[in-house]
Amino acid sequence: MGQPGASTFIVVAAYNEGSVLRDTLAPLFRQGYSVVVVDDGSSDDTWTVLRSLPVHALRHPINLGQGAALQTGMDYALKHGAEFVVHFDADGQHPHDQIEEMLAPIRAGQADVVLGCRFLRDEDRRHVPLVKRVVLRAGALVSALMTGVWLKDSHNGFRALSADAVSRIRLTENGFAHATEILRQIRLAGLRYVEIPTTIRYSEYSRAKGQPVTNAFNIVMDLILGRLFR
């Protein structure tokens, strides 16, 4: 923990991201952050790539889903003395130069959780493909109805959390439904949250890798069944 950013743990869930991981992670460890990457049972060379990089590499023996990988990363980060945790996508669509901006409200004691939002600035909104924009806004509405947390962008994976917030959140939705589950837990734990504008850079790769918009239906079903069978 010699470097100033070392108590900030960037948690990355990676599933078959071997071809882009190096480019995504390099700016993070170069800035001195502690980078925790959870290989979620990938079948490509993700694990080999990870072991060649100066990061904390963890591997699920089987594929469990993004929510499970993030929770594993958060458990690990807390165990290693994290003060702050940032969720960051492995496909490189999140802006690494905005991490400090995300952490600022937490450092200033104004928030426990900071959530990235693609819909606060016109220039960010323009980066989001139209169909995705419509689905995301509908998703935000469904999330709000299910969690009581009204956000403009509820399925943005770029988040920053204080260690205290991390210790009070426990993701049990292994799949993408964790994005809604985390909001519900934020509300139930009485954590202070704020949305700040972020630019998501969609590349051909991230579009191909990202969840298809039709997955929205699966997410809603997971949430309903998850609530029923707690």
Binding site: F29, P54, H56, A57, P61, D75, T172
Partner: protein, 111 residues
């Protein structure tokens, strides 16, 4: 459709939700499955019984009543299995997580 039909459907759905969300126990699960089996055995042993009961509840034919009850029984059993799968999934996740954290590869100089 008679007014009572949608009301019954809603009541059935509410009963299932309440059961699974609040009242559930493995003992009750087994009791319900056993009840469905016993009712099935009664209908097989006394073929006229289903017709008589169907008449009481205004279903029409006895075979329809048996059909509806079996759909309910199957649906119930699916939900029981689903919840079991979820529990298994949660256990498996805990196990995989423990293994991942135990075998973590730390960056050089920190381990």
């Amino acid at each position: 459709m008679k007014l009572v039909q949608p009301i019954l459907l809603v009541l059935l759905a509410v009963a299932l939700v309440v059961y699974f969300a609040r009242l559930r126990s493995s003992l009750l699960d087994r009791a319900i499955v056993l009840l469905v089996v016993v009712v099935g055995a009664v209908f097989v042993s006394f073929p006229g019984a289903s017709q008589t009961i169907a008449g009481w509840v205004n279903v029409g034919r006895g075979v329809d009543l048996v059909f509806y009850l079996s759909i309910f029984g199957l649906g119930f059993y699916c939900l029981v299995l689903f919840s079991k799968i979820r529990r298994l999934e949660a256990d498996m996740t805990d196990l995989a997580r423990a293994v991942a954290i135990r075998d973590a590869n730390e960056p050089e100089g920190e381990s």
